[in-house]
C-alpha cells in the first residue's frame, strides 16, 4: 500500500510503532505529486524543504506529517496568493495563527492549495491560476472555495489538509470530493493571517479522510487567539473525546427541504440515515425555514464585507494594483459597495441582517428539540468543468443548504453518504449543531462513518 493513502491516524500509529518512516511517507507522497499535480492542479506551490523540516518534529503530536494548506493562509517564506493575480509573488512576512500552531504541533506545510480567487466561489474555477480537477472524476469540478484542499485529500496528495469556510467552502468541496470537511463554530479557530473575505463568518477548519482525522487536526489549532478579536475565549475541548461514543437517545432532525431538485438525493439520504436509527438515535423530519432568503442574506452580507476587506489591496505595500482583480472579485466588491451606499444600505444591508436574526431564531427553535440537524450538503453531485463560467450566483445557489447555518456561525461537518458507481462521484450529508456543540456532530458523523460503507479510506477494496 502506498503510504500517501494513509489516514492521519494510521500515519501517526504506524510511525509510533515503527511500521514505516517519515521518509517513506514523503517518498510516496512526492511520487503521487509528480504523477498527478500537473493535471489536477491541486497545489499552487510546494514546500521544497518539507522533508528536511519534518525531521525535527518526530516527538510532537503530528510527528512531522505533511499537511496541505489552502493558499489564503499566510505562510512565512512560502507564496500566499489566495489564488489571485493581485497577490502573485507575495511572500508574507508573518505566519497565520492556524499554520503557526499546526507547525508548533509538528505539522509540516507540504504545499499551498488552489481555491477560488480570494475564496469567492464554489467551484475553484474562479482561481486566476486555473481550475482544480476532481480526483474522483477529472471531468468534474472539486467544488470550492477550498477545492484544492478537498482534492488533495480525495487524490491522496496529502495526509490531511486545512481549508477555510465562509458559507460552504469547507463542506461543499468535501461533499463533491467524497471527503470529511469540518467547519467549527465561528470563533473557534483564529482568522489571524487568513486573507479576509467575510469577517463575520470566516472560519478555518480541517478537510480530512475521516472524522477522527478532522478531530485530531482541529485539536492542533482550535482555541483562543488574542490576535483575533472575535476568537472565542473559552478553552476548546479535546475533540477526539467525542469519537466512538454511543448515539443512543440522540435526537436528530432531518431538514427535508421540499424542493423538487432535491427529491432524489433527499430520498437517498433518508434511506442511509436508517443506520443512525439502528444505532439508537431518533430521526424525524424537521421543518426549517425556507432556505431561499438565506441566499439573499449571505449575498448581501458577504459582498458588503468583501468590499470593505478587499479595499486594502492597493498595490502599494504588497501585491499588484486593483486592475488585477478577476471578474468575480470585481462583481463582489462592486455589489458590496452598491449595497452599502447611502440610500441602499437600509434596504439591503440592514434588511439582510434582520433576516439573519430570523434564521438564528429558527435554529434556536429547532435545537430546542434536536441535538443535530442533518440535510444534504450540496443539492447535487460535482458539476462538470466549465459550468460556473459567467454565472454570477453560482456559488450562492450551490451553497443554499449551508448558508443559513454559516450566517448563524454554527459548527457543521460533511460526511460522504453515497457514491454513484457510474461516475465515481459522491454525495455528502451536512450535520449541524448549536454554537460550540461540535461534540454533537462529531458523535453522529463518526458513528455514521464507521457503520456505513461510504468512506473510501475505511472501506478500501
Amino acid at each position: 500500500m502506498k503510504l500517501n493513502t494513509l489516514t492521519l491516524k494510521e500515519s501517526l500509529d504506524g510511525l509510533h510503532k515503527g511500521d514505516f518512516s517519515l521518509d517513506e511517507i514523503y517518498r510516496d507522497l512526492d511520487q503521487a505529486y509528480t504523477e498527478h499535480n500537473t493535471k489536477l492542479n491541486v497545489y499552487l506551490s510546494k514546500n521544497e524543504h518539507a522533508l528536511e523540516q519534518s525531521r525535527a518534529k518526530s516527538t510532537l503530536p503530528l510527528k512531522g506529517l505533511p499537511i496541505a494548506v489552502k493558499d489564503n493562509f499566510c505562510t512565512r517564506d512560502l507564496p500566499s496568493t489566495a489564488s489571485s493575480a493581485v497577490l502573485e509573488g507575495f511572500r508574507p512576512q508573518y505566519e497565520s495563527t492556524v499554520t503557526k500552531r499546526l507547525q508548533e504541533q509538528g505539522g509540516i506545510v507540504y504545499g499551498k492549495t488552489n481555491l477560488d480567487a480570494f475564496a469567492h466561489g464554489s467551484s475553484t474555477e474562479t482561481s486566476d491560476f486555473g481550475p482544480t480537477l476532481n480526483p474522483r472524476n477529472p471531468e468534474h469540478l472539486p467544488g470550492g472555495s477550498s477545492g484544492g484542499s478537498a482534492a488533495a485529500i480525495a487524490g491522496d496528495l496529502a495526509i490531511a489538509s486545512i481549508g477555510s469556510e465562509t458559507a460552504g467552502s469547507i463542506r461543499q468541496p468535501s461533499a463533491w470530493c467524497g471527503t470529511v470537511g469540518f467547519k467549527p463554530s465561528y470563533g473557534r479557530a483564529s482568522r489571524f493571517g487568513v486573507a479576509a473575505m467575510a469577517s463575520s463568518t470566516d472560519s478555518p477548519g480541517p478537510i480530512t479522510k475521516t472524522v477522527e482525522d478532522a478531530c485530531i487536526l482541529l485539536n492542533t489549532f482550535a482555541g483562543h487567539d488574542p490576535l483575533d478579536g472575535t476568537s472565542y475565549s473559552e478553552k476548546s475541548p479535546d475533540f477526539t473525546q467525542f469519537l466512538d461514543q454511543s448515539i443512543k437517545g440522540m435526537k436528530i432532525g432531518l431538514i427535508y427541504q421540499d424542493i423538487e431538485e432535491l427529491a432524489t438525493n433527499n430520498a437517498l439520504l433518508q434511506k442511509e440515515l436508517e443506520i443512525l436509527r439502528e444505532l439508537g438515535a431518533t430521526i424525524e423530519v424537521a421543518q426549517a425555514m425556507d432556505p431561499h432568503p438565506a441566499i439573499g442574506v449571505y449575498t448581501v452580507v458577504q459582498r458588503a464585507e468583501v468590499s470593505s476587506n478587499l479595499a486594502r489591496y492597493d498595490g502599494i505595500r504588497y501585491g499588484q494594483d486593483r486592475s488585477h482583480f478577476g471578474a468575480e472579485a470585481k462583481r463582489r466588491i462592486m455589489l458590496g459597495t452598491f449595497t452599502l451606499t447611502a440610500g441602499h444600505a437600509d434596504k439591503y444591508y440592514e434588511t439582510a441582517q434582520k433576516v439573519r436574526t430570523l434564521y438564528l431564531e429558527d435554529y434556536k427553535r429547532l435545537f430546542a428539540n434536536y441535538d443535530v440537524l442533518i440535510s444534504l450538503t450540496s443539492p447535487s453531485y460535482a458539476k462538470k468543468v466549465g459550468v460556473s463560467a459567467d454565472a454570477a450566483m453560482f456559488g450562492e445557489l450551490e451553497d443554499m443548504l449551508l448558508e443559513a447555518s454559516s450566517v448563524s456561525g454554527l459548527p457543521g461537518i460533511n460526511v460522504p453518504f453515497f457514491r454513484d458507481p457510474d461516475t465515481n462521484l459522491y454525495l455528502g450529508a451536512s450535520l449541524i449543531a448549536p454554537m460550540w456543540q461540535e461534540g454533537n456532530i462529531i458523535k453522529v458523523a463518526d458513528a455514521f462513518e464507521k457503520n456505513s460503507k461510504w468512506n473510501s479510506w475505511r472501506n478500501r477494496n
Partner: protein
C-alpha cells in the same frame, strides 16, 4: 430593483476598480441577476425584527495598549513586498495636484 450601466460605472469609481466598456456591460447584467435573487429578502416580514451583525455575543474586546515586538515588522520586513520604495519609504501615487503638473 435594477441598475443601469452608468450607475455601475459610478460604483466602479467608488470602489476604485478600473472597468472597460465591455466589462461594464457584463457587470450590469451580473448586478441585475444578483439583485433579482437578493430581492427575495423583500418577501420576508422583518418589521419587528432586530439586526444581527455578529454571532459571538462578544462585546468590546480590548487589549493592553503595548507594543509587541515579536509581532512588529522591521522596516525591511514592512517594505519587503512593495513594488516601489524610496529611501526606506513606500512610494504612493499623487493624491494632490497643482496647476503645474
Amino acid at each position: 430593483m435594477s441598475v443601469t450601466q452608468s450607475q455601475v460605472k459610478h460604483i466602479a469609481g467608488l470602489a476604485t476598480i478600473p472597468v472597460s466598456e465591455e466589462e461594464t456591460q457584463k457587470l450590469t447584467q451580473a448586478f441585475n441577476e444578483t439583485l433579482a435573487v437578493v430581492d427575495q429578502l423583500k418577501q420576508v416580514d422583518v418589521s419587528t425584527t432586530k439586526t444581527t451583525h455578529q454571532v459571538t455575543g462578544l462585546h468590546n474586546v480590548l487589549r493592553e495598549d503595548v507594543v509587541r515586538e515579536d509581532l512588529s515588522f522591521t522596516q525591511a520586513e514592512a517594505l519587503a513586498n512593495a513594488k516601489v520604495t524610496h529611501q526606506g519609504y513606500f512610494v504612493v501615487p499623487y493624491v494632490l495636484s497643482n496647476k503645474d503638473n
